[in-house]
């Protein structure tokens, strides 16, 4: 191992070394990597690291969570709001296995994380020791890279590799499992060298310009070009380059839920959301465009609907940093492998300035139809129970689109993504690929630490909130200021919607009872109120936003409202239903 990692060559005579423990190497590595916040939970096998942390509290902020899943979701929230790597500490055994959901979530949503787990002494490995679990093998399918350290001398090189791998190329979670003896072991430490190169790893491909030229030719010949973008634009920090491309080419652009907020909601060329609960026009017109330009997105099945009836009529250009995504689900006419921060400006240079008034009008017409049939009643209902959409609408009015919105999974997530207004990038944080209920509350805590100057609003369903509500304790202890809106429809709403539409209203175990959420919050010292009347909504949200410190609102919304439009599973995007 030591050979293959190519230890940095150093002039031994000139290098001053100090004798420190493996645990202290971890602290020094974190500081060298610019880590400022760690989300974690101590335990037996990680005690030496926590002992080292004791002396570094002034430089490394540690947020004590209530469950390791909370730690990793918080680290995800931190990474997504700050654009930096999230860092997690957990102990061996159950501590490490509790990370698995978050790792899977970060892996599928390409979130950069470095997770450190403690492990039993190396001589106990494989003996079924107390709190021993084969963490490396459990986490292999859900990490970009993982490694077990049994000798502290490996630490400086492995940690620098971990940060390099987590943050470059298509980002992802990395897990380093450190046995207790390695944490305690004293080594001659020569300082930390940041890794910027691994022989077998190509995070930044060389852009093949001939493919960019081909792509530009297709775009320039197109009469009905359509851009669909994903999180790649945000992860590539290419929002400006993306806007320049869209504005010069005049092409309408629609987003996946992870791409949301890369371009302001109000931008005239932002035509809305793709996929199962996306907007009417973007879904239908995917099957009418003549050139489809996919940027940093992966044609997830929730976006494409039935694949053999998806975008069959058009040429497809696919820009992605991960070559395994090109031609994975949808065959590209032209694949452009590269970092979109680099490929988009090349493309912008080559495309001719254009406007597509008639084509854009089609999107506008579909938009009008959708407003008439769906959006108006959802956002501005005159009577009846409150809707999720109107809560978001009032929130938009008060925040003016400047808040970070963190959502959980289900109906409220789709409604929030559809209707929330965004002005700046990295403002929408949600569990997209994995669909992890319980994600929002801890992720919102992390998001606030990642962007302390911004307002963070967590929008959560009554079901998802109960999956990780113990993190209210983290809010209490760390005194973080987040705003929580529970959209309570007293049902596991999305499953109920499917049961209504596809299972003859056989409501099988979706009727969920909840505690008094406001009282639960109160028990944790968090202020809050329940709202069930339309006329109280605005004032309640205003109180929440003006409140110093965290605040919880339980908004009672219609029990059996459905999210539309909807592309039913197994249907083509052209078959999107408005009711």
């Amino acid at each position: 191992m030591l050979n293959t990692l190519k230890l940095p060559q150093k002039d031994v005579l000139l290098t001053k070394t100090e004798t420190i423990s493996g645990s202290e190497v971890v602290m020094k590595a974190f500081i060298a990597e610019g880590v400022d916040t760690i989300f974690g939970y101590p335990g037996g096998a990680i005690m030496p690291i926590y002992d080292a942390l004791y002396d570094y509290q002034d430089r490394l902020k540690h947020i004590l969570v209530r469950h390791e899943q909370g730690a990793i979701h918080a680290a995800q929230g931190y990474a997504r709001s700050s654009g930096r790597v999230g860092v997690v500490f957990a102990t061996s055994g159950p501590g490490a296995t509790n990370l698995v959901t978050g790792l899977a979530d970060a892996q599928i949503d390409s979130t950069p994380l470095v997770c450190i787990t403690g492990q039993v002494f190396a001589h106990l490995l494989g003996t079924d020791a107390f709190q021993e679990t084969d963490v490396i093998n459990i986490t292999t399918p859900v990490t970009k890279w993982n490694y077990q350290i049994t000798d502290a001398r490996e630490l400086p090189v492995v940690l620098s590799k971990a940060f390099h791998i987590a943050t470059t190329g298509r980002p992802g979670p990395v897990l380093i499992d450190i046995t207790k003896n390695a944490q305690l072991q004293k080594i001659e430490y020569e300082g930390y060298t940041r890794c910027d190169y691994i022989r077998s790893y190509r995070p930044k491909p060389i852009v093949r310009e001939e493919h960019v030229v081909e792509a530009a030719q297709l775009i320039n010949q197109a009469e009905k070009p359509f851009v669909i973008w994903g999180q790649g634009v945000i992860l590539g920090k290419a929002e400006t380059e993306f806007a320049a491309f869209i504005e010069k080419s005049g092409i309408p652009a629609a987003w996946t839920i992870l791409g949301l907020s890369a371009m302001p909601t109000d931008h005239p060329l932002n035509v809305g959301m793709l996929g199962m609960h996306g907007n009417y026009g973007p879904n239908v017109l995917t099957n009418e465009c003549d050139v489809l330009i996919a940027i940093g997105m992966r044609f997830d099945d929730r976006v494409t609907g039935r694949l053999d009836k998806y975008a069959r009529q058009c040429k497809i250009i696919h820009l992605d940093i991960d070559p395994s995504e090109i031609d994975k689900n949808v065959k590209a006419t032209v694949g452009v492998w590269g970092d979109c921060k680099e490929t988009l400006p090349l493309l912008t240079q080559l495309v001719s300035a254009n406007t597509h008034p008639e084509w854009l009008q089609k999107f506008a017409d579909y938009r009008q139809e959708e407003i008439k049939q769906v959006i108006h009643d959802e956002m501005n209902p005159a009577s009846g129970e409150m809707t999720m959409g109107e809560v978001i609408n009032v929130l938009n009015e008060l925040t003016e689109g400047d808040a970070i919105i963190v959502t959980d999974v289900g109906q409220h997530q789709m409604v929030a993504c559809r209707y929330a207004k965004f002005n700046t990038s990295k403002s929408n944080i949600t569990s997209g690929g994995l669909g992890t209920m319980g994600f929002a509350l801890p992720a919102a805590i992390g998001a606030k630490f990642g962007a302390p100057q911004r307002t963070v609003v967590a929008i959560i369903g009554d079901g998802g909130f109960q999956m990780t509500l113990q993190e209210l304790g983290t809010i209490m202890q760390s005194e973080v200021n987040i705003k929580i809106i529970i959209l309570n429809n007293r049902f596991l709403g999305m499953v109920r919607q499917w049961q209504q539409l596809f299972h003859d209203k056989r409501y099988s175990f979706v009727d969920i009872t909840s505690p008094d959420f406001v009282m639960v919050a109160k028990a944790y010292g968090i202020a809050g109120q329940a709202v069930s009347k339309r006329e109280d909504l605005k004032q309640a949200l205003k109180t929440m936003l003006d409140h110093e410190g965290s605040y919880l609102i339980e908004a009672m919304v219609g029990k059996e409202n459905n999210v539309f439009p909807m592309v039913p599973q197994g249907c083509s995007v052209s078959e999107v239903r408005l009711k």
């Binding site: 191992m1 050979n3 293959t4 490396i136 093998n137 292999t140 399918p141 970009k144 890279w145 993982n146 490694y147 077990q148 791998i165 190169y197 691994i198 022989r199 077998s200 790893y201 190509r202 491909p205 060389i206 093949r208 493919h211 991960d322 070559p323 395994s324 090109i326 031609d327 994975k328 065959k331 694949g335 492998w337």
Partner: protein, 196 residues
């Protein structure tokens, strides 16, 4: 597209856990691995996996891309049987008295190019090297004579058109790879390779 036998050749760093990382790419998609061999390659420090599966080219291409995505994998190639030279080795344990008594057996073994590795009073172990059909045929032939044990190795394969990995590795080792490095070769021969 029809399923056929493909041999995937993977050049990797020598790393604990990488075997699992590669194996789960197949098991996740419920694809059976017919044979897998790991060995050193022509380049010191670089390991070589040879994996045989029965799948369509489209599936194999995607699998190769997923394998190549692993951090410690340098390169993954896939080839049909026509594009490679391949061999497997098999061992057969037969009662010695049967062979001694029956001249026919000896003739058969000669015909199949089998070589005695160990001869003891009670049993004899033969070895043959060849392709699947050949080693399988000898099993059938030896069965009536009291075949005690049979085992066959994984496939090892050489790609006919390969110029070795030395040059490729130099490109990978260059910190600042020049324009000559063609990283996404598959984009070049897209039309030949894919159909949907």
């Amino acid at each position: 597209m029809l399923k056929q036998e493909f041999t995937i050749t993977v050049y990797t760093e020598n790393h604990i856990g990488l075997l699992n990382r590669i194996a789960i790419i197949f098991s996740r998609r419920k694809i059976n691995i017919d044979s897998m061999n790991t060995s050193p390659s022509e380049v010191e420090g670089i390991h070589r996996f040879t994996i045989v599966i029965d799948e369509t080219e489209e599936v194999v291409r995607k699998l190769a891309r997923q394998i190549e995505k692993q951090v410690e994998v340098l390169k993954a190639y896939y080839n049909t049987n026509e594009e490679i030279i391949w061999q497997e080795m098999a061992l057969y344990k037969v009662p010695t008295d049967e062979i001694a008594e029956k001249v026919k057996v000896e003739r058969l073994l000669r015909k199949y190019g089998a070589r005695a590795v160990v001869i003891r009073k009670d049993y004899t172990v033969f070895e043959t090297t060849g392709q699947r059909e050949e080693t399988d045929k000898l099993v059938k032939v030896l069965e009536p004579y009291g075949l005690i044990e049979f085992v066959r190795s994984a496939r090892v394969a050489i790609i006919k058109s390969s110029h070795g990995f030395h040059e490729k590795l130099k490109e990978f080792e260059a910190m600042d790879p020049g324009a000559r490095l063609v990283e996404n070769e598959f984009l070049n021969k897209q039309d030949e390779v894919f159909s949907m």
